[in-house]
């Protein structure tokens, strides 16, 4: 499965949750598949989805799901020790690990070669680190949500992108409706 197929499958789970989605094609895919005010789309700033979602999870009680990528985690690797050492059980970091920088033309990442992000997360001190296959994403994500424990999910899947339109919504509109969804 490629990322867009996974997003289609887990859309019913994501719909009722606060979601912070990674820059580029992942946000375009989620926006096209099931746009929700409770989705925060990153339009720039590669690497910070995990940090934005973590800041949000730390200050309010609703569950927060971050849809991140292997390339973005590699860009902001310092995020994992911060997450590990400040546990908040309403936080789920789901790393869609397709071993490539999808938005820039599927150049390979080191996560697709020798580097295991699950092993890195564990070495950083993260608990409840689960590496799973693309086809198992839905049940694994639902179980993580139901557990009420902070989780790091590494979803191994195929490289590839769906052709989706660019998000043209104004960033302040994205942010404003998201903040209203947080407060709702």
């Amino acid at each position: 499965m490629i990322r867009s197929e996974i997003l289609k499958e887990i859309a019913p789970i994501l719909r009722d949750q606060l979601v912070v989605c990674n820059i580029g094609i992942p946000s375009q895919e989620l926006h096209a598949i099931d746009d929700q005010p409770s989705n925060f789309y990153m339009l720039g700033t590669m690497g910070l989805a995990s940090s934005i979602g973590f800041g949000l999870a730390l200050v309010q009680p609703k569950p927060v799901i971050v849809i991140d990528g292997d390339g973005s985690i590699l860009t902001n690797m310092g995020t994992l020790p911060t997450i590990a050492n400040n546990v908040t059980d309403n936080y789920i970091l789901m790393i869609i690990d397709n071993g490539s920088y999808g938005s820039t033309g599927d150049q390979p990442t080191y996560a697709g070669r020798k580097t295991s992000l699950a092993a890195v997360a564990e070495a950083c001190g993260c608990e409840n680190v689960i590496e799973c296959r693309d086809v198992d994403t839905g049940p694994v994500l639902q179980k993580a949500l139901d557990s009420g424990k902070m989780h790091i999910l590494v979803v191994k899947c195929d490289s590839g992108n769906a052709k989706m339109p660019v998000i043209t919504m104004d960033p302040v509109v994205i942010r404003d409706r998201f903040m209203k969804a947080v407060q709702a």
Partner: protein, 210 residues
């Protein structure tokens, strides 16, 4: 070398007026009495700064270590009103602050001016693009009384970069400049912009025993 008067912060502490301790070059701990006073003096400015953060309802603070800001960071850490989360890099910290603000808390970041070089993209495409407030309490290394030459290399770009980014910028050079902090914080959350507060070595009373 001739002995010199101690230049520790106590010399400028209004309570103690002047430190009369003589420094002898090569002495490992030349000024223990004055250092005690210096500690008290720095405590008051650190406490003053954090009092202003708390008074402005800032309850989420991320920090990257700095020797000049060490006292403020320590004060932030002990306050019950503030959740303190150290960052590994300043752009990561700005991401945390963005999330905290969207979650309903007022954030702040404490960092060095070298971080302006690290965070230009984050400031433009996250903090400014989504129109979010972010007070940045910045140690202005490389200014007057700086002992490390390399620090000057970013200092000379700091204000130019902030100006290019249209970031409102305030420069604390004398300790009395801290009186503007409360107004600067109110201004930041009024206009929803990142705002820089540069605090130089003279403001902190010099580097003391560094």
């Amino acid at each position: 070398m001739q002995p010199a008067l101690c230049m520790c912060t106590a010399a400028r502490d209004p309570v103690y007026l002047y430190c009369y301790t003589i420094l002898y070059p090569g002495f490992v701990i030349p000024c223990s009495f004055a250092h005690q006073l210096k500690g008290m003096s720095e405590m008051s400015i650190d406490k003053r700064i954090v009092d202003d953060l708390v008074a402005n309802d800032i309850s989420f603070v991320t920090t990257v270590p700095c020797k000049q800001l060490a006292g403020v960071i320590e004060e932030v850490d002990i306050r019950d009103e503030i959740f303190h989360i150290p960052s590994n890099k300043e752009d990561e910290g700005m991401g945390l602050c963005a999330g905290a603000w969207m979650g309903g808390k007022r954030p702040a970041i404490i960092m060095q001016n070298t971080a302006i070089g690290v965070t230009i993209n984050t400031l433009a495409t996250l903090t400014q693009y989504y129109r979010m407030p972010l007070p940045m309490l910045i140690s202005y290394r490389g200014e007057l009384r700086e002992p490390v030459a390399c620090q000057v290399e970013m200092a000379i770009h700091t204000k130019a970069l902030l100006a290019q980014m249209n970031i409102p910028t305030y420069h604390f050079h004398k300790q009395s400049d801290v009186e503007e902090l409360d107004m600067i914080l109110k201004y930041t959350f009024m206009c929803n912009k990142p705002v820089a507060i540069l605090t130089d070595a003279n403001f902190w009373g010099g580097y003391g025993d560094q």
